[in-house]
Amino acid sequence: MKLEYVLFGFGILFCLAGVGYLAVEYVKYLSEVWKLVSLLLTVGMFAFLSKYFEDIGW
């Protein structure tokens, strides 16, 4: 059971690393306006996710 959690943890880490790597690769080509919009969307994404977790009782 614990091993499964460790594997889930690794899976999540690899996903985040992959998304992070791609973000770094392509953020170089974004124009200034879309960089700002991306930043706002990232902030919004984390804010809504926090609110969701709060609502389900985490």
Partner: protein, 180 residues
Amino acid sequence: MATKRKNLFLYLTLACFLGLIAIFIVDGYLGIYDTIYIIAGEQEEKVEPDFWLRQSPTKPVGVKNAYHVSANWEGKIFFRYEVDNRQFSSYTADIKVAVWHSQEKVYDLVSQHMQIGAFDKEQLEWVLDTAEFLPSDVPPEQSYEFTVIIKRGQVERNIIVYINPSAYSSGAKVVPAPPR
């Protein structure tokens, strides 16, 4: 009601995530990207498309970015210009390459029409023989600089080539070792 509200936040999170992905694809991936490969000497240098987007903090706004490369006196420089069309339509442009020195065009290197299909790449190669245009009044002991300007439609890429002075041998006097 509470479940709907919970799901609303989840949907909003997903919407933000999808918006991010859409921006990365549309603004970050799609478009026209050019890469320059330069061989001056033995090593190949690659000028990535994002080099031209970076602005040096010491450089005032509006001053064009230029890539610097050094070559040997009367040496040859090999250029490969790759244009990557990441668009759903074909791309056409006139590529003009010329050598400039002191704001004056010295000579034209390449003038070619390029047509690239959707999500395809095209390459253009040329060789710059510095011996052909180095002025005769400049001695080999002196360094020299010129700019290779690549024009693709409205886009301009500047490559500043620094010619290293050749060995200081001819005029140097050999000083004998002092007696012990």
